[in-house]
């Protein structure tokens, strides 16, 4: 059926290489989304290089590849970069791109706030890295516990730059959250009731609520720390209350884990039904589970503090609430499996990454139960067991889901498919490398290797550390394949067409890449799988593909 194709504005060229003036000034949620994602991938590479330096330093006992002070700066920069500048930024970017498309909107509710929110991120990143050029960056771990970050023990500007950077980051996060919530509430297409929102959009609602609530306490902790450092107050100093800092930080810090993992849950909930050709199992319980997680995640922060010596009843409360998070997470897990059960599951690269996510995130979830148990945690806390656990959650969880999301939505964003062969190599090498790195890392913690140590003398840990280091380079190789794939396919990949996966949600109804206004005509929405409904009814309007083979 022939439809009149609206002329596309000249400034919105279909290639990625647009004039820089467009990138700098655009308020288009899609271009801003791309900028978020590209920024975060650059951070991922930088954070990865830090990780490799860490692994080289620890590969054998008593090595001296970097000195202890530099090592402490590197582990801090690795944590801050990966958590604040990679995962959180990436999920914000992908949501920026996809949420308006998925709800059938033309743009975000506040395009210029979106623009400002994005540009605060490079400011935040540059502020953080300024520390490296002014005599030493943050050297107290990404958590920056006081009093180690106080003036008495940390004279340099690194801590100040970090605190400023995190404040700016928190403001940006609050802007993005407000924007997402307003967009989703106000700009849904006709028929897109809340009960028909794609689960990725629900994930974004829950993430935004979480970040809105916990972003401010984080900024407050940083401001109080700066008062201590610059104005001589005594909030967290040796004379003050160092433990108060931990409460403030973890009240943000733990929900932040869910800020990073809930969008991953949303991604998985979108991808599994498409490739299993079955609707998501238990839509309502999926939504309820997300809000269960939002609520519970704000009542568990002190499980990071079981060794500071709290009252045992307080510890018991935080232990119980932490363990309860396993319930909504379990619901989601079983629902995903049930979605694929009896399906006709196509193991494309995104689906492989989703199954990689399920297989590895499960381990992170289970070790979380061990860590939640107060007596056991007193042994595992601050050891390599925790490092392994958190990487199973953030790498095996978030990063696998992010990679799945990239393989899934790359054709929509660029109009071209990522190369499948490279994708398969990418998946298998990262899966083997990841488990090789982090599975045996648990045993190091059990045997008494504390985290954040610059080096160690114990020869019993040497072999395990060597295996870990070798595996970590396999991850790096895999990420290199991924980057080659992205760059190569962006220019020369196979033309995807508008709907290469036979998707369920509205973004697949428009062209790849979508025009600036997203939809010529917003398709009717009759369920939470509007595009699938149209396809089955034979009503899917074939848009003229934007890209043609050249």
């Amino acid at each position: 059926m022939a439809t009149t194709v609206l002329p596309r504005p000249k400034q919105y060229d279909d290639t990625f290489f647009k004039p820089i003036s467009i990138w700098l000034t655009t308020t288009d949620h899609k271009l801003i989304g791309i900028m978020y994602m590209v920024t975060s991938i650059i951070s991922f590479v930088i954070g990865g290089i830090f990780a490799l330096i860490i692994r080289l330093q620890l590969s054998q006992p008593n090595l001296h590849i970097v000195d202890a002070e530099t090592y402490n700066q590197i582990i801090s920069a690795h944590g801050v970069t990966m958590i604040f500048f990679f995962v959180t930024i990436f999920v914000t970017g992908v949501a920026n791109y996809m949420v308006p498309l998925m709800i059938g909107a033309r743009d975000m509710a506040f395009p210029r706030v979106n623009l400002l929110g994005f540009w605060l991120i490079p400011v935040s990143i540059i502020l953080y890295y300024c520390g490296f050029f002014t005599g030493g960056s943050l050297n107290a771990g990404w958590t920056g516990y006081a009093p180690l970050t106080e003036k008495a023990f940390n004279h340099g500007l690194g801590v100040d730059f970090w605190a400023l950077s995190i404040m700016v980051w928190a403001i940006s996060g609050i802007m993005a959250s407000t924007n997402f919530l307003t967009t989703i509430v106000a700009l849904r297409a006709p028929g897109m009731r809340f009960s028909r929102l794609p689960l990725f959009v629900w994930a974004q609602i829950s993430t935004s609520i979480l970040l809105l609530i916990v972003g401010a306490p984080l900024a407050a902790a940083m401001i109080l720390l700066e008062f201590d450092r610059q104005l001589g107050t005594q909030f967290f100093t040796t004379q003050g209350r160092p433990v108060l800092y931990q409460h403030l930080f973890w009240f943000f810090g733990h929900p932040e884990v869910y800020v990073m993992i809930l969008p991953a849950f949303g991604l998985v909930s979108e991808i599994v039904p498409v490739f299993a050709r079955k609707p998501i199992f238990g839509y309502m319980s999926m939504v309820a589970a997300m809000f269960g997680i939002v609520f519970l995640s704000m009542t568990v922060w002190a499980h990071h503090m079981f060794t500071v010596g709290m009252n045992t009843y307080v510890e018991g409360f935080f232990m119980l609430m932490t363990m309860l998070i396993a319930v909504p997470t379990g619901i989601k897990f079983f629902n995903w499996i049930a979605t694929a059960w009896w399906g006709s599951v196509e193991f494309t690269v995104p689906m492989k990454f989703v199954f990689g996510f399920l297989a590895t995130f499960l381990i992170g979830g289970i070790t979380g139960i061990f860590l939640a148990s107060v007596p056991v945690d007193t042994q595992l806390h601050q050891s390599y067991y925790v490092v392994a656990h958190l990487h199973y959650v953030l790498f095996g969880g978030s990063v696998f889901a992010i990679l799945a999301g990239i393989y899934y939505w790359f054709p929509k964003i660029t109009g071209r498919l990522l190369n499948r062969t490279l994708g398969e190599w990418n998946f298998w090498t990262v899966f083997v490398g990841f488990n090789g790195t982090f599975l045996i890392m648990h045993t190091l913690g059990l045997e008494g290797m504390p985290r954040r140590i610059w080096t160690y003398a114990n020869p019993a840990w040497a072999t395990t550390n060597m295996i870990i280091t070798i595996s970590s380079f396999l991850i790096a190789f895999s990420i290199l394949l991924f980057l080659i794939n992205v760059v190569q396919s962006w220019n020369h990949g196979e033309i995807a067409g508008n709907d290469p996966w036979k998707g369920n949600t509205l973004e697949w109804a428009t062209t790849s890449p979508p025009p600036p206004y997203n939809f010529e005509r917003v398709p009717p929405v009759r369920s939470f799988m509007p595009v699938r409904d149209l396809r089955e009814a034979g009503e899917l309007v074939e848009q003229e593909p934007v890209l043609t083979a050249t």
């Binding site: 202890a68 160092p242 060794t307 119980l320 599951v345 148990s373 007596p375 504390p450």
Partner: protein, 273 residues
Amino acid sequence: MRFLPPIYFHLVARSARALITTIGLAGLAFVLSSCDLGGLSPIFPEPVSPNGKDIYDTYFYISLVAIAVFVGVEASLLWVVIRYRRSRQPAGYVVPQVHGHAGLEIAWTLAPLIIVLAIAAYSFVELQKNFQPINNQEMTVKVSGHQFGWEYDYLNGVVVHQEGSLAAEVTPFVVPTNTLIKLQFDANDVIHSWWVPSISGKTDAVPGYDNFSWLKIDKPGKWRGECAELCGSGHAQMQIMMQAMDKADFDAWMAKQKAATTSPSPSPSPSPA
């Protein structure tokens, strides 16, 4: 909408068989891995203090549940990969459009709930038993952390200075065996954390904040530990050496220390503030 396709019973039988095989194999793997493989132990070192033993047991019992859950869920994922992949489905397979099932969803809400409540209850009992402040101790030692070492004050004038070092063995903190000892923690500068895995869990030494732990070691020996809270550039060298002696040996050691304290010490260890 069909909830149970006709191949259901056949599938259940096959999946049950696959599940049992997988659990058997994984169980075997676990038993094998429990044998000490050197550097790859799946559990803590054998503890020598009752509170450490309780932690060890708690870890072990949680492991049993955790391994069952792990094997069950991974097996069902594997089953989906093997059985429901598109290439394995017959041509013209009509995918049942199942939107959910209240009974199942309630079941897998309640099952994890019951499991975690049981684990939490068990852990809470342990918590009440071993983590309350004690006052029936036979001896008290004040442990104080600084950048980068530990002081052990026996409250009788004897103080062991354990300056951190990676190059040589550090001065041991000596205690008598079979004696209930209360440890009181403090720090002079930043937060440190005292951890000897063979004894028990770690305890943070927070400046200006009372914290405590206890130990009762059942055999003579030496055990290593480390500071577990990043405390600056010397964090890695903040090694701990713990030594337990028979009561008689300990008394002799203590007498020697007292004599050394009353006469001027030949090697005052520097303690940076």
